[in-house]
């Protein structure tokens, strides 16, 4: 029996590192459905979960996969699923259920090129807006974008911690390139890994209101079978969790769902700056495209172009204020992503005309070469 945290140094793919990160974070339930290029996460964790006391199940489709994950999380167990484009589309309705019922869970999307069946074995970053708005209604959630197998290991832990802290689904928006890339991954000593569990209720069981928020806007969460007799529904509900079909209830609930994220942006948003201090052109990128951008920044500097990189680690919520601040002092922005302009629209919105925003986009299937970025820098600035 191997332990949950496999301390050591490995040569590992992003998909496998993601599965190991989940185990290190305390994930003990995985409901999945095979899909390229995310399958390896399910394959790896299916062998690992039973030996650490967890449960893996391959469900009949992606709708069932995420429904089982939400059910398992409501039983008090940290839970996740992993998929790619078509499966991500099928999961959208129940993603909304997790948001509305404030059920923590982690959903990995190893993005491939779409739309539809697209290029199943070749990567893209085309689901970034779907991650933000794919489920119906207005909401906030958290989405992360790792740039290496090592980072996906840590980000998966971070994803669980954020999900448990804020009782919100957290998406890991990786891509086929990172998922299938083998690199050195260091798994640290278990003692150094910090994990967070959802706040649990205190006080009298008969007076517990399942949606009465604490100081950070997040309500403690009772698991099924703990004796709190909670009711959980995807209908608009009040603090007791009871359905209430009024405008007031909708306003109250939406304020809670949206507010807990919007009021904690400083705690949630993670970015990384590279050679940004003196940069007058900001490249904004994430995931595999951030690796392209990193190379492009160094090459541009060698050619006398003062470029820097703002790497998005959380893509949602979007670091609006950072872009606004940068827009006051830089010549412009260049977003590099494997789609035809998604996060670029956010950069453009936040730059709000103070600085021009340009795109180096590609519909996916390959990575963007650094030369394309250099060329765009020369063309636009």
């Amino acid at each position: 029996m191997r332990p949950a945290v496999l301390t050591g140094e490995y040569f590992m793919t992003g998909d496998v590192a993601c599965a190991e990160g989940a185990l290190a974070a305390g994930c003990r339930f995985f409901g999945g459905y095979p899909i390229t290029p995310a399958t390896e996460i399910a394959e790896h964790i299916s062998g690992r979960l039973p030996e650490v006391g967890g449960t893996f199940i391959q469900m009949e489709d992606e709708i069932a996969a995420i429904a089982s994950v939400i059910g398992a999380s409501c039983a008090g167990v940290k839970s996740m699923t992993a998929t790619s484009g078509p499966g991500f589309s099928l999961m959208m309705e129940n993603l909304g259920l997790a948001i509305c019922t404030e059920t923590p869970c982690v959903l990995v999307n190893v993005q491939r090129a779409g739309p539809s069946t697209g290029l199943p074995t070749q990567g893209a970053q085309g689901d970034m807006m779907q991650a933000r708005w794919g489920s119906h209604g207005h909401y906030e959630l958290i989405a992360l974008a790792p740039s290496s197998p090592q980072e996906i290991f840590y980000q998966t832990i971070d994803a669980f911690n954020l999900s448990e802290t804020y009782r919100v689904p957290v998406l890991i928006m990786t891509d086929e390139m990172i998922g299938h890339l083998s690199e050195r991954v260091v798994i640290p000593d278990a003692k150094t890994i910090q994990t967070v569990s959802r706040p649990s209720p205190k006080g009298r069981k008969d007076r517990f209101n399942p949606y009465e928020a604490g100081p950070n806007g997040v309500a403690p969460m009772a698991a099924a079978g703990e004796g709190y007799h909670i009711h959980v529904t995807g209908l608009t509900h009040d603090q007791r969790g009871y359905p209430v079909m009024t405008v007031e209830a909708q306003e109250w609930m939406m304020n809670q769902l949206v507010g807990k994220i919007r009021r904690n942006l400083d705690d949630i948003i993670r970015t990384e700056a590279y050679r940004l201090e003196d940069a007058d052109i900001v490249i904004v990128s994430y995931g595999v495209s951030a690796r392209t951008s990193l190379a492009a920044v160094d090459e541009a500097r060698d050619q006398g172009i003062r470029a820097g990189l703002l790497r998005l680690i959380t893509v949602w919520p979007f670091p609006e204020s950072q872009i606004r601040e940068l827009a006051k002092r830089v010549k412009g922005f260049l977003t590099v992503e494997l789609n035809l302009g998604q996060m670029h629209l956010e950069v453009e919105r936040c730059a709000a005309g103070r600085a021009p925003a340009f795109l180096v986009g590609h519909p996916g299937g390959t990575i963007i070469p650094p030369d394309d970025v250099i060329q765009a820098l020369k063309e636009h600035f």
Partner: protein, 286 residues
């Protein structure tokens, strides 16, 4: 709201969220009877109610979870069973009862039903079959009898309905019964057996929907009761393929299947877990 006088309390009040009553079900609807049979069965079965969960999908019967004073989950349309599967596998100590309707469980959710039965997930599924989509105003369902009129089959239903016990049987369910709400005691006893049966247990409850189904098929609430009395026969030994619903020929009720085979969790533990961990896990349980 006026609190009911203490001595006038219903014997099931402790299992009800009485502050949510009145419920949404229409006069003449059978869901309340099915729900009441389900609560009575839960109580009589002697299971630990603190470890008992009710899970519903969407629809009139899907509102069941909202009225039970236990841990209760009102999920998305068709997805009560996969939600319940995740919950049961994550914590096998929970008793998980799915209470939902025919449209929810067998049209949009049909795929989940057959797979949960195949795996023999230890769930109790109570399906209130009222032959149509009641909540949305009476559209054709996967259970609507041939030629019956609904708002989306105004000329009559051209398609044959499911034989639900046969579907459950073919999929591997370990307990299968069918009753009507007129057979309230048999129904209650069957649900009780279903709860106590280890494995995937299925109880179909035929139930009138006078407002939406009955109105368009010249069947008032009392007519449905008469049909349930006069055109049904109880045959516990009936073979699943004889259980088509055709009231002109007579509809067979009864307990058709009661078997025990390893559950999904049993098999997962023996096949997938290391033996030493299994012993450790067993040792930690009281």
């Amino acid at each position: 709201m006026n609190q009911p006088n203490k001595q006038l309390r219903h014997p099931l009040d402790d299992l009800l969220r009485t502050d949510r009553i009145p419920h949404i079900w229409c006069p003449g609807c059978g869901i309340g009877t099915a729900f009441s049979a389900c609560l009575t069965a839960m109580k009589k079965s002697g299971i630990d109610l603190e470890k008992t969960v009710m899970i519903s999908g969407i629809g009139c019967s899907g509102r069941g979870a909202g009225y039970v004073n236990l841990d209760s989950y009102h999920t998305t349309h068709g997805r009560a069973i996969p939600f319940a599967t995740g919950m049961k596998l994550a914590n096998p100590e929970l008793n998980v009862v799915v209470f939902s309707g025919d449209g929810d469980l067998f049209a949009i959710g049909g795929n989940h039903f057959i797979h949960a039965a195949r795996r023999n997930v230890d769930l109790t599924v109570v399906c209130v079959n009222n032959f149509n989509y009641g909540m949305t105003g009476g559209q054709v369902a996967a259970t609507t009898p041939l030629m019956a009129r609904t708002t989306t089959t105004p000329m009559g239903n051209p398609d044959a309905p499911f034989n639900l016990p046969l579907l459950a049987y073919a999929s591997g369910a370990s307990y299968i019964a069918r009753w009507t709400i007129l057979h309230a005691r048999d129904l209650m006893e069957s649900i009780q057996e279903a709860i106590l049966n280890r494995g995937f247990s299925f109880v179909e409850v035929l139930s009138p929907c006078p407002v939406n189904y009955g109105r368009r098929n010249k069947e008032k609430a009392m007519d449905s009761m008469r049909i349930y009395q006069e055109r049904t026969l109880i045959r516990n030994d009936a073979r699943p393929w004889e259980l088509d619903i055709d009231f002109d020929k007579g509809v067979i009720l009864g307990k058709f299947i009661e078997t025990e085979r390893p559950t999904c969790t049993d098999r997962y533990d023996t096949v997938c877990r290391p033996k030493e961990l299994l012993e450790e896990m067993k040792g930690s349980k009281p």
